[in-house]
């Protein structure tokens, strides 16, 4: 799995093929627009005319651009390219393209990906184009906006339905994903694999923390037995799906897809940090646990074990504490001077606190 996860240390990629200052600018960039147009003319239709390529706000991990084009359908696309550096566990856009294809074939509500490319935005970087989907992904809007109140009532069932579809994908049903070029083989022991992966991530940190070390020890001492391995979205939480007033519009951001225990996804969505301040609604800041678990059980046929959710929620907080420190290290050592990365790093303490709170509480 380690190779499929793209290595443990921060992956530093070649410099952007734009002026880095311009990559954050709100205006379209002519060089990139021309390259995108040439690419789409080659792989889609020669009649393609690209009118704009504009960086999208949000997303601390990948470079995303809104592309407006004529001559192809659909004409509004999202160009998604590997960023300058990546978190451990992040798959590149070539692997992500394959995962999205499998998800679309399984009927998951996620925008189809087209026209894979390499070197379009940055030398050597993989990229592809997603069909544009409408809706809000911003956490505080999804959890608090009055306009989305009706949608929030539907989300537990809608998200549980999509998650069950994702978890029906296995290495046996989608062998094309179990190759070294995509996700690698599925681990036989997903708990041991998850703990080993976190151990490698912890050891790769340049700023190790005592709290993280304690959490890993607790998780190791209390490791459950899980034998089933399924496809995980890997970052299934508020902020990574689009919501309109009608409800769930699309599941996004497959960059942490991997094989593992379904409880990794089931717990991740309830992490305190992904509740966006609505602490009393543990599923993503929009629902109690019961409606979500009941819908998931109905759709998947799998009975949710809340003891396992508890262990995996501690693991999730550990993983995001490590991820937070690693995000700051992307700024400090990875050449990505984005203030958001620094700010995320300073929040590792909150995840450590929450994990210790869960351990002391003994249940979710």
């Amino acid at each position: 799995m380690a190779a499929a996860r793209g290595g443990i240390a921060i992956v530093v990629r070649p410099a952007l093929r734009l002026d880095p200052a311009m990559s954050n600018a709100p205006t379209e960039h002519e060089d990139l627009r021309a390259r995108v147009e040439a690419h789409l003319r080659g792989v889609a239709t020669s009649a393609t005319v690209v009118s704009s390529v504009v960086p999208l706000a949000g997303g601390a991990c990948q470079d995303n651009f809104r592309v407006e084009a004529k001559g192809i359908e659909p004409g509004t696309l999202v160009l998604r390219s590997d960023a300058l550096s990546a978190l451990p566990g992040s798959i590149d856009r070539s692997r992500e393209f394959a995962v999205i294809g499998a998800a679309v074939r399984a009927g998951v509500k996620t925008p189809p990906a087209h026209y894979p490319a390499r070197g379009l935005v940055r030398e050597g970087a993989h990229a592809y184009f997603l069909e544009w989907a409408s809706g809000d992904a911003i956490g505080r809007k999804v959890t608090k906006s009055p306009e989305l109140a009706g949608a929030r009532r539907k989300l537990p069932e809608e998200l549980a339905t999509e998650l069950a579809k994702i978890h029906r994908i296995t290495a046996a049903s989608a062998p094309e994903l179990a190759t070294a070029e995509v996700l690698g083989p599925a681990p036989q022991e997903p708990v041991a694999a998850a703990l080993a992966f976190q151990r490698e991530r912890i050891d790769s940190l340049k700023s190790p923390r005592l709290g993280i070390e304690l959490l890993h020890r607790w998780l190791t001492d209390h490791a459950p037995t899980v034998t089933e391995t399924v496809l995980l979205h890997g970052d299934f939480r508020t902020g990574n799906f689009l919501v309109t007033e009608s409800g769930l519009s699309a599941i996004l951001d497959w960059e942490f897809a991997r094989w593992g225990a379904r409880y990794e996804d089931l717990a991740w969505i309830s992490m305190r940090d992904w509740r966006f301040g609505v602490l009393g609604l543990p599923v993503g800041g929009f629902s109690a646990r019961a409606p979500f678990y009941e819908a998931y059980e109905k759709q998947s046929g799998h009975v949710v074990d809340e003891k396992l959710v508890h262990w995996y929620e501690v693991l999730s907080n550990l993983a995001w504490a490590v991820g937070s420190v690693a995000q700051a290290e992307r700024y400090i050592y990875g050449g990505e001077e984005d203030l958001e990365l620094l700010a995320i790093g300073r929040r590792a303490s909150e995840m450590e606190w929450e994990a210790l709170r869960l351990i002391e509480r003994g249940r979710i």
Binding site: P26, S349, E350
Partner: protein
Amino acid sequence: MQNTPNKETALMAMAKFLGRDVRPLVKDARVQFRILVAESLLMGCAGELAFEDEHLRGELERLFDLVGEAPVLPVSGAEKKSAVGRMTSSLRNAVKTADADTLKRLQAHVKATLHDEISVANPRFSFAEEI
């Protein structure tokens, strides 16, 4: 080191300037968001400076007790941070083989340290055991 205003006041003033005078003028959502992040970082740093000595002293006292060293507080801030780093590193290495009682004491120390860090960096954070 007698500059007036002091570092905390200067950092808070920069945060206020960004939030009150700069952010409303910026149209680009991506840049607006990063101004908000900058404000938050500046306020967090100002808070840390204000409480740094008190928090370092508390952390050192707990660490001396955990590692069994005589509680001799270093004089300078740099020496205090260096002592915290040295003892924390030693405890980190001991976690894998620590017994249950030691783990319980380490956990209490980490929680106290995290409480200090978070209360400054995110004053709205709830420390309630039931959330």
